[in-house]
């Protein structure tokens, strides 16, 4: 049919156009596959490395609570542990033996005894973590355990295998990882401190940058005279959005800590710094969202005798809300993953307590990743990946919240 209508030249051209069309689609698909493959490899690696953290080995351990130890819980643990290995006599062996269970055991015992009364026979059953190397050893396939020859002595390995054979080793979900703060001991180091630190920091960031960013954007969009000064401010806000984040850290150090005396290493100062960093993004996103609202909407309100502020608050702003939330969440996600400025204001300190307020010392998730990645102990390697997973999960929760809010405010045109 085409042949009748189209000339020879037009036919050739048409074939070429179709070919170009197909090629162009392939380029797009290839680019997408490439990007997805990388993402997949990245995620798979992190999950593979970090998954081990979420289940771990613990020992069900009968501790004899004896009067003569008083409140020396460490001694009770050691005595009960040693009692299982009659052949252990000299000091070196004892030290090696004690090195197999976590130092956290005595605190666990203390906590446990605070809650329950000791039975008549004086025996309490306690589930305690192994030390880092011992735990890893037990988690390893029996055939591959030779790799531990440098980290554990043959005797230690023998004892662990004996314990394992006796059925005292249990495999459980590692809730400690989610309930503990950071620690020098990899087996008891947890993410909760950093997680709460990040949450508190994000709260401050949001409360600081959202109202200020939105108000500034509204002023620029709706009220400011669009003169030379306006253009100057506009250009500078765009520039600020591209300033390296560490510069904001330095600024925060000088202004918030130096000038205003905000306590360092706290979610308050961290949130303020990240808020400053997020501000330009907020302003730009809000302005774009306001510009995208059809002006006929505001005209309709104004023609009914609404004041410009009413027209904005009743019509313009609600219509812009989904866009504003999208922008806000992009800014917040960026802030959540930011490490460099937090290093400048001391949020990189080792904090073994879970922060209990905006002014208590704390770290944040990305800093925790940085700290663990930097630790020499092997146990921290998988913790690093697990922390990244937690960070990603946090991000996913935040994004879901944004999508929910956007849906809620979405307008069907």
């Amino acid at each position: 049919m085409n042949n009748a209508v189209l000339s020879q030249r037009m036919q050739t051209q048409l074939r070429r156009r179709h070919a170009a069309e197909k090629r162009f689609r392939w380029y797009g698909a290839a680019a997408l596959c490439f990007a997805l493959a990388f993402l997949f490899v990245l995620l798979a690696t992190i999950i593979f490395n970090g998954a081990g953290v979420f289940i771990h080995k613990r020992m069900l351990f009968e501790v004899a609570v004896s009067e003569h130890h008083g409140d020396r819980y460490g001694a009770m643990i050691k005595d009960s542990w040693k009692a299982q290995f009659p052949e252990v006599t000299n000091r070196r062996q004892r030290r090696e033996l004690y090195g197999l269970i976590s130092r956290d055991a005595e605190f666990l015992l203390r906590e446990h005894l605070a809650g329950v009364s000791v039975p008549d026979n004086g025996i309490v059953v306690l589930s305690v973590p192994f030390s880092g190397d011992a735990g890893e050893f037990l988690e390893t396939d029996p055939e591959k355990r030779d790799a531990f020859s440098e980290r554990l002595s043959p005797e230690q390995r023998g004892w662990l295998e004996r314990i394992e054979a006796s059925g005292q080793v249990e495999t459980v979900f590692n809730k400690d990882f989610f309930l503990n703060a950071d620690s020098r001991e990899p087996e008891i180091a947890g993410i909760l401190g950093a997680l709460i630190g990040s949450m508190l920091t994000m709260c401050v960031t949001f409360l600081f940058s959202f109202p200020i960013g939105v108000m500034a954007a509204i002023y620029l969009e709706e009220f400011a005279a669009k003169g030379r000064l306006f253009r100057f401010i506009e250009v500078n806000i765009n520039n600020l959005a591209a300033v390296p984040s560490i510069v904001f850290g330095l600024l925060g150090l000088a202004v918030f800590i130096g000038l205003f005396g905000v306590p360092r290493s706290t979610p308050l100062v961290g949130g303020l710094v990240l808020g400053l960093m997020t501000l330009p993004t907020m302003i730009i996103a809000t302005r774009a969202a306001l510009q995208a609202v059809p002006s006929s909407l505001r005209y309709a309100a104004l023609a009914l005798g609404a004041t410009p502020t009413q027209a904005l608050l009743h019509q313009g702003l609600p219509a812009a809300m989904p866009g504003i939330f999208t922008g806000a969440i992009i800014g917040m996600a960026q802030a959540l993953g930011e490490t460099a400025p937090l290093l400048m204001i001391g949020m990189v300190a080792f904090v073994a307590d879970i922060p209990d307020g905006f002014t208590s010392a704390s770290t944040a998730l990305p800093v925790q990743v940085f700290l663990w990645a930097d630790s020499p102990e092997r146990g921290f390697v998988e913790k690093t990946s697990a922390a990244i997973l937690v960070l990603l999960a946090f991000l996913a929760v935040m994004n879901s919240a944004a999508i929910y809010l956007r849906r809620k405010f979405e307008i069907k045109w």
Binding site: S295, L297, Y299, A300, L302, A303, L304, G305, Q315, A319
Partner: protein, 283 residues
């Protein structure tokens, strides 16, 4: 503000608003029978002139039709009357416009009050992305026209009824207005404009997306509204202009070519351009 404040506080429903209007008429009628008089209006968008030296009187309690080919400045002229042109940055308006004898550009004039007195229905329907009810209730709410919810209900129902939309939306008052058809949206915008009982209603092609039946209803509405309000209608339909208006103004390329009683304009136009336009030779 002082000059343009309502002579009486606006109370309650459309019925009382109409009483106010008729009282006002008695006060003003002797002095001047036109509600709006525009003198030597020049409008520029940037450097480009859109209206050149337009002077026209809008009679009270009549329908004035504005006709003319596309782009001749009809909408621009309407926007001058409620100062919506203030919102267009490049737009510059010169000349004097008097509403009830008061200069609407005077510094003491509050545009909020002006726009309350001079309502507008836009060329393109622009309902708020809210419920049908909230669309109509918006104006009365911001002006505090209703003392109670039942009073507000009454205003809303009354306005929808008069715009000929009530029967179609009675059982979905709280659905989004964006779900209405184009013509329904246009009538909603009319209902929204009359809900605040303005003195003057500017209608920019109110029937542009209506079928003949709905158009006829709007025409009836306009005729009815004339009892209480003064109305300016932009229309591209000569028949419509002839049917509904008492006065007609013909614009061409930013100029007001001819104005006068509708009957005379359509039967004995003085200007050749008017003649050409109404007989369909330019436009």
């Amino acid at each position: 503000m002082k000059g343009l404040a309502h002579p009486m506080p606006v109370t309650t429903t459309a019925t009382t608003a109409s009483e106010i209007s008729s009282e006002r008429e008695q006060v003003g009628a002797g002095a001047n029978s036109s509600i709006i008089s525009a003198r030597n209006i020049n409008v520029h968008y940037g450097e480009k002139p859109a209206l050149v030296n337009v002077s026209v009187e809008i009679p009270r309690h009549q329908v004035t039709a504005m006709i003319g080919p596309s782009g001749c400045g009809k909408s621009t002229f309407l926007r001058c009357l409620n100062r919506m042109n203030d919102l267009i940055e490049s737009c510059r308006v010169e000349g004097d416009i008097f509403l009830d004898g008061e200069d609407i550009h005077a510094p003491q004039v509050d545009v909020v009050t002006l726009r309350m007195r001079v309502g507008m229905v836009f060329q393109k329907p622009n309902p708020f992305p809210k419920s049908i009810y909230d669309n109509v209730a918006y104006g009365p709410r911001i002006h505090g026209m209703a003392d109670s919810n039942s009073e507000l209900d009454e205003i809303v129902l009354n306005s929808l009824e008069r715009a000929g939309l009530l029967d179609e939306v009675r059982d979905r008052m709280h659905d989004s207005a964006m779900g209405l058809s184009g013509g329904q949206q246009q009538r909603l915008c009319i209902a929204r404009a009359i809900a605040i009982a303005p003195e003057v209603i500017l209608m920019d092609e109110p029937c542009s997306s209506l079928d003949p039946i709905a158009s006829a209803r709007v025409e009836d509405l306009i005729d009815e509204l004339r009892q209480k309000y003064s109305i300016i209608v932009v229309t591209h339909s000569m028949q419509q202009a002839a049917r509904i208006s008492q006065k007609t103004a013909f614009f061409h390329l930013g100029e007001l070519v001819e104005e006068g009683e509708t009957e005379r304009i359509f039967t004995a136009p003085k200007d050749t351009r008017t003649h050409a336009y109404i007989t369909g030779r330019i436009g």
